[in-house]
């Protein structure tokens, strides 16, 4: 107890992760989200259409079903937009930060010296807009990994390169 409170002064001076300025994903990424959302909603609409065609009771209440569907679509769009606005990442000298979340706001921090490997993933639609997803893995398995979507591809490559360089240096130091 005593020892811990002794550290209090130092604790205040420590860099604060929560005050780090975050870089938001590229605005173009919103289009990718919208495209994915519309594909999903389109498939759902087809399913609903088939249901109306074959099922008597659904056909009778088609107004209700359509309203529900539209409400759901609007809700999804709003939620996606809120989560898009919330996203942000930062590359600090010694760690990577990523903030995301649909309802709860979640911030994940991976220290650079704990990164196992880094991958750059380009989805089909992301590629059209020149974006990429940076995937950062640690030894803690799926629970502790980080997927940063919607980074401009050149920048993503640069970050990846920087992280990999850092990794190599780290492991070299570790071996010596």
């Amino acid at each position: 107890m005593q020892h811990f409170t002794n550290e209090t002064i130092a604790l205040d001076k420590l860099p604060k992760y929560e005050e780090t300025p975050l870089t938001n994903p590229d605005p173009k990424y919103w289009r990718v989200i919208i495209i994915n959302l519309f594909i999903f909603l389109f498939l759902m609409a087809i399913a609903l259409g088939l249901l109306t065609f074959f099922n008597e009771s659904v056909r009778a209440n088609w107004m209700l079903w359509t309203t529900l569907f539209v409400a759901f679509a609007v809700f999804l769009c709003l939620i996606s937009y809120a989560s898009f606005k919330r996203r942000g990442f930062a590359l600090r000298e010694k760690d990577v930060l990523y903030k995301s979340g649909i309802i709860a706001e979640k911030t994940t921090i991976i220290p650079l010296n704990r990164i196992q490997h880094v991958a750059l993933n380009e989805g089909m639609f992301s590629r059209i807009f020149g974006l990429g997803t940076l995937q950062i893995y640690t030894a803690s398995g799926s629970s502790g990994e980080m997927h940063i979507a919607g980074i401009e591809i050149e920048q993503a490559k640069a970050i990846k390169e920087a992280l990999v360089q850092r990794l190599v240096i780290n492991t070299k130091e570790g071996n010596e």
Partner: protein, 502 residues
């Protein structure tokens, strides 16, 4: 008996029998149910033919086992520091394992292997399926020597040269923890009820189902089993039934504990811990203390009275994604030890006994979600049933009991949920019946996540999860300002030092 592993060598000759038996057993297991039904229904000539067929299968299995034995070789490449296995009759497989990637070497002895007097050796690596690297029949002495080579060849091969020469009998010195039969009985009576309940339910279901299957095979299933079960309920008063179930449960628990942990010994062996236990099949595990990521000890009310602790050492599986079950298999459990033994073990793994530090407790809002989902929601559903189906009304005492018990459980879990942080350790306490303390060192942290619901922003409440290579530890509904300070402190600890996590 050469202890030189640089030349390719075969398993012990007993491997023919072990391999054959293994294959025969697998074949029989696959065909068991159709075979059993066939035997029940068949006439004599068909039965005789089946017997011949069976013998033929066994002979074939042993021939296969023989070739398998011939084609299975392993050796240690001292130059490249690799362990190489060649195997397969029709399709050859060439396995190369860099020695530095080896996490753990297990020497086990199954029932048949115990009779013949050989061991099996499994190599646990980061990244490969452990079933792949399984030498099924190996002489005990060679197995020990090979394990020495594999584990000590790592990192500083030149320095450890002397250690390799020491005979493996060094492991037979006084064990650190040795569990006597009396202690084992106590353990069996006080712990792991959940697993035994699951086992009993599974067993009961299997018996019920199998009797029905047999009756069906004889074409005279008129629901006797159900009838018997029903009459059973009227015959016994519920009290006797409950007592019988309790006795059965405790008996299963004790038997299970004895089978799994009979003659449990934990000893220190150069830089690692050697654990061996088991009644029918003896299991040996060797582990490095610095590969342990989470050290957990737990105690329930009864164990507290008799001063018994259960410990669990959770290890890392580096660079590989794994399911929850695999993570569980990676745990080494010490079913029972007293306070001094526990402290001794903690000192070995953490180099000190964690004590002191600041304790953080959750906000009372911790109760909200479980109360809504486990109490209010089921109550509402029951309310609907109560209203619409009069039959459901007689069960209301059960519902009241459920409400009281679940509320008490939620409340206890709230009072026990806390995290203690000192400069060197993080201790998370949790549980309802078994109260467990999970200890991690800050340097074992892989990543940290914090989260907060928007409606908790004003209240300054948030959650934090520490991810390690052997699972996560979370602290929920704490003061978010404190949590943020802690996170910054842990980040500082992880990032300022260049301490390895393994």
């Amino acid at each position: 008996m050469s202890l030189d592993f640089s030349q390719p060598q075969r398993q012990s000759a007993a491997g023919i029998i072990i391999n054959g038996a293994y294959i025969a057993q697998r074949l029989v297991r696959v065909m068991f149910i159709p075979l059993a039904l066939f035997i029940v229904k068949a006439n004599k000539t068909a039965l005789l033919n089946t017997a011949f067929g069976f013998i033929a299968v066994v002979i074939l299995a042993f021939v296969y086992g023989y070739f398998n034995y011939l084609k299975f070789t392993f050796y240690l490449n001292p130059l490249k520091q690799e362990f190489v296995i060649d195997k397969g009759i029709f399709s050859r497989k060439h396995l190369t394992i860099p020695i530095e990637k080896i996490q753990q070497v297990n020497i086990n002895q199954g029932f048949l292997q115990k009779i013949i007097g050989v061991y099996s050796l499994q190599i646990d690596t980061a990244g490969a399926d452990s079933k792949e690297v399984d030498i099924r029949a190996i002489n005990g002495e060679i197995a020990q020597a090979l394990r020495q080579h594999l584990l000590h060849g790592q990192r500083t091969p030149a320095m450890e040269e002397g250690a390799i020469e020491t005979p493996p009998t060094a492991s037979t010195d006084v064990p650190l923890i040795k569990i006597k039969a009396a202690t084992l009985l106590k353990i069996g009576l006080t712990s792991n009820y959940g697993q035994s309940v699951a086992l009993l339910i599974g067993f009961g279901y299997a018996v019920f189902y199998n009797i029905k299957e047999v009756l069906k095979a004889f074409d005279n299933d008129y629901g006797q089993v159900e009838q018997f079960v029903k009459s059973g309920f009227t015959l016994f008063s519920t009290g006797i039934l409950l007592a019988a179930i309790t006795v059965l449960l405790l008996a299963t628990n004790v038997i299970r504990t004895f089978v799994k942990y009979f003659d449990f010994q934990l000893s220190k062996h150069s830089h690692s811990l050697l654990i061996s236990a088991g009644l029918l099949a003896r299991k040996n595990t060797l582990l490095h203390p610095n590969k342990v990521q989470i050290t957990e000890y737990s105690q329930n009310y009864l164990q507290k009275k008799i001063g018994l602790f259960k410990m669990s050492l959770k290890q890392a599986h580096a660079g590989r994604k794994q399911s929850e079950k695999e993570m569980k298999n990676n745990n080494t459990e010490i079913p029972g030890c007293n306070a001094t033994e526990k402290d001794e073990l903690l000192r070995m793994i953490l180099n000190r006994i964690p004590d002191g530090g600041s304790t953080f407790k959750p906000n009372w809002r911790y109760l909200n979600l479980p109360v809504v989902f486990q109490l209010i929601l089921p109550m509402l559903i029951y309310g609907v049933f109560y209203y619409f189906f009069p039959e459901a009304r007689v069960y209301y005492p059960l519902v009241v009991a459920y409400f009281v018990i679940v509320f008490i459980m939620i409340y206890i879990s709230y009072t026990k949920h806390r995290i203690t942080v000192s400069e060197t350790d993080i201790i998370k306490q949790s549980g309802i019946w078994d109260i467990s303390q999970e200890i991690i060192e800050p340097r074992k942290i892989q990543s940290i996540s914090t989260s907060q619901y928007p409606w908790h922003k004003k209240l300054d409440i948030g959650h934090v999860t520490l991810h390690t290579a052997a699972g996560s530890i979370s602290f929920s509904y704490g003061n978010f300002t404190e949590i943020k300070t802690l996170v910054n402190y842990w980040l500082y600890q992880v990032e300022s030092g260049d301490q390895e996590w393994m």
